[in-house]
């Protein structure tokens, strides 16, 4: 059960047993170790040549934000089996919630920390707002309605310029601070990195706990067989709403952090591409597999933000005639499509399959009456 502990402590059986028992602690230790190891790694060639450590740390911070988004979406898609294509909308709502109360645009300056919670609450409210009318319907209708919702939210943010400053977005958002101890700045990415890492492990722990709880089992049951779940006494609409609200509130919280990090929110930041990139991360990492999904998000982010750029520089430098003409950055977008199609056809369980999801997608080995 404690996958993270497995990953970190593979050879040490007693340690492994300890972390199996104290999984939350194990996740925390694993994430912290990783978050120390990553910046160290960037000091080593070839990574040190790509960009400065500060820029790397900033990239990791963004990747972790993206990974948290993917983990939240995974609750909706991987656990409850609901396809949410407008996930970026909740991300946007979280961001605008903070921007609205912590920027010169409104002149209000509330502190950052309680707003984290507020972002989650706003996300959850809108999750229920959208989920209640649609979750009673077929799963694929939900996909379309959320897709539309994902379109409507940026459009509304754009048009309601009295409240959101329209396309300009809200800028100059307050950076977090711990009064008297630490003021976050934009040129020093380390405090934000620390904050994101802490939040990342917290969210991961929470998600793992939910997965193993009564609620998590309910989601599993719904995903596997809705009718059977109902006949086990599960109120499927409420359980789905809960999944939707959990996913949305994670997006809301992450939206607050994201707004505080970039210090500006504009409607264009929350377009369909964001939802799709999170979906691609979920599919790549394996639906239902929290740690796999987080890793998938890291891979996709670093691939498109760092590797493709380097590929461009590479082919230009070594002058390969045909490749030279290709701008690899043009392939950022098609990457999502390829990931979605290929993974579904060839490896639906993801590159890091979750125990449960892997089996559900595997072909039936035993027929209905195979044992007879």
């Amino acid at each position: 059960m404690s996958r993270i502990a497995d990953a970190v402590n593979a050879p040490f059986a007693p340690v492994r047993a300890f972390f199996r028992k104290h999984r939350s602690f194990g996740i925390f230790v694993g994430v912290v170790l990783l978050s120390i190891a990553l910046p160290l790694l960037t000091r080593v060639p070839p990574f040190d040549g790509i960009q400065s450590t500060n820029a790397w740390v900033n990239a990791f911070t963004t990747a972790a934000i993206y990974a948290m988004l993917a983990m939240g979406l995974n609750v909706v898609i991987g656990f409850a089996g609901l396809l949410d294509l407008g996930y970026a909308a909740f991300f946007a709502l979280g961001g605008y919630t903070y921007a609205f109360v912590a920027a010169p645009f409104t002149g209000i300056h509330l502190p950052f920390w309680p707003m984290l919670l507020a972002g989650g609450v706003v996300g959850a409210i809108f999750g229920v707002l959208l989920g209640a009318p649609t979750l009673r319907l077929r799963g694929d209708y939900l996909a379309i309605v959320t897709l539309g919702f994902g379109e409507i939210v940026p459009i509304t943010l754009m048009n309601a310029d009295k409240f959101t400053d329209g396309v300009n977005g809200i800028g100059g958002i307050d950076k977090p601070s711990i009064p008297g101890i630490l003021q976050f700045t934009l040129t020093n990415p380390w405090p934000m990195y620390g904050l994101v890492i802490a939040l990342f492990s917290l969210i991961m722990i929470m998600i793992y706990r939910l997965e193993d709880s009564r609620l998590g089992r309910t989601w599993d049951a719904i995903r596997e067989d809705e009718l059977a779940a109902e006949s086990s006494g599960v109120n499927i609409v409420i359980a789905k709403l809960q999944a939707f609200a959990v996913g949305a509130s994670i997006a809301g919280i992450v939206g607050v952090v994201n707004a505080a990090k970039i210090t500006i929110v504009t409607p264009d930041q929350f377009r369909f591409a964001v939802s799709i990139s999170a979906l691609a991360a979920v599919v790549l990492g394996g639906m239902g597999n929290t740690i796999g999904v987080a890793t998938g998000a890291f891979i996709i982010y670093l691939f498109q933000s760092i590797l493709l750029k380097q590929l461009n520089t590479l082919v230009e430098n070594i002058n390969i005639p045909v490749l030279n003409q290709i701008d690899f950055l043009d392939f950022q977008y098609v990457l999502y499509g390829i990931v979605l199609v290929l993974m579904m056809l060839k490896r639906p369980q993801g590159i890091f399959p979750a125990r449960r999801r892997m089996r559900e997608f595997a072909p039936l080995k035993i027929g209905k009456r195979g044992a007879k």
């Binding site: 898609i77 089996g81 396809l83 294509l85 009318p133 649609t134 009673r136 319907l137 077929r138 799963g139 694929d140 209708y141 996909a143 379309i144 309605v145 897709l147 539309g148 919702f149 379109e151 409507i152 459009i155 509304t156 048009n159 809705e226 369909f272 799709i276 979906l279 599919v283 639906m287 043009d330 392939f331 977008y333 098609v334 999502y336 499509g337 390829i338 990931v339 979605l340 199609v341 290929l342 579904m344 056809l345 639906p348 559900e360 997608f361 072909p363």
Partner: protein, 338 residues
């Protein structure tokens, strides 16, 4: 109108059968009155295009219960194929005023585009959807989204990200006068083409063996398989037809607007899907009806200066229908029980 010899029950039944056509006529009359003839023609033309695209959604949904996200982009590819055939293969540059030449060019254009698109649709079905026929429902849905992205990017790769012009073969100057308003023949041509194709589709579904196979398959796949219907062939034919219609819509779009762009599929796909839901997904006549309805809403919004909110209104309609009437106006397929 009922004579004394007609019993009230027959009259009632007659009225029941006529309720839909009558309400459609009433709606059209109202729309004509409110919008005026110019905007009415605009709406009908736009509706014709939406209807053609919506048919593809509804047919595929009817038969394999898959929302084919890629269908909007199949329409988009259709518009590019039409553009390519028209300008590069046929060498057209603009309007053709010679009527026989025009008819020949347009016919060839339709035939080629529809064939290419039908093949593309079948190819997508074969490669991306058929292997997932027995997989959990989420799998083909996600694949469809992936296909949609790939189609967009392939087109963007070959034709660039900008708006591309398409030769408008039918001269836009040709028009007739209707009660003092100038109605371009081009609009009438678009509406007529669409109506002809839709009628042909209805005939195909109700009169031919394959059409009947499609209907039985959509009702119960396993049962019709037992009765000797080749399911794979039937599904493939559904995709052939749906994509062919999207190709036709692509041709019509190009002729009417004179341009296309790689992002066309997303917006129009969403609207066409809404049309399919409004009409009752799985129901071909409903899809057509929904297409026209959406067009009237959009054109109406734009005509009165609320174009800014057109998208939001359409989307709200979708949600309202999903909540209060998930079966749509003429729906046969229901949403899951509440």
């Amino acid at each position: 109108m009922a004579t004394a010899s007609v019993t009230s029950s027959t009259a009632g039944r007659l009225l029941g059968n006529l309720r839909l056509p009558l309400s459609i006529l009433a709606f059209l009359g109202l729309a004509l009155g409110v919008l005026g003839i110019d905007q009415f023609v605009n709406a009908m033309t736009l509706g014709a295009i939406y209807a053609l695209v919506a048919l593809g959604y509804t047919m595929v949904y009817g038969i394999i219960e898959l929302i084919n996200f890629a269908h909007g982009d199949v329409f988009m590819v259709g518009s590019f194929v039409a553009m390519f055939i028209s300008s590069s293969l046929l060498g057209n540059e603009g309007a053709i005023t010679n009527v026989p030449m025009l008819a020949a060019s347009v016919l060839i254009l339709f035939a080629l585009t529809i064939s290419v698109m039908a093949l593309l649709g079948a190819l997508i079905e074969r490669l991306a959807y058929r292997p997932l026929r027995r997989a959990p429902k989420l799998a083909p849905l996600i694949t469809a989204i992936g296909v949609s992205f790939i189609l967009q990017n392939v087109i963007q790769f070959f034709f660039g990200p900008t708006i591309v012009t398409v030769p408008q073969l039918v001269p836009i100057e040709w028009s007739i006068q209707v009660s003092g308003s100038r109605v371009p023949l081009l609009n009438l041509f678009v509406i007529a083409t669409s109506v002809i194709l839709m009628v042909a589709l209805q005939l195909f579904i109700s009169r031919t063996r394959t059409g009947r196979a499609m209907r039985t398959t959509s009702m119960d796949r396993d049962a019709s398989s037992l009765m000797g219907v080749d399911i794979n062939r039937t599904i493939m034919i559904t995709f052939l037809i749906g994509s062919g219609l999207a190709g036709a819509a692509g041709v019509v779009h190009g002729l009417y607007y004179g341009n296309t762009t790689f992002g066309l599929g997303f917006q129009s796909g969403l609207k066409a899907f809404t049309a399919a839901v409004l009409g009752g997904i799985g129901n071909t006549a409903g899809a057509a009806l929904g297409g026209f309805l959406i067009a009237f809403v959009e054109v109406g919004a734009s005509a009165f200066g609320y174009g800014r909110w057109g998208g939001a209104i359409v989307f709200s309609l979708l949600v309202i229908f999903l909540v209060f009437r998930p079966t749509g106006l003429l729906g046969s397929h229901t949403g899951d029980r509440a």
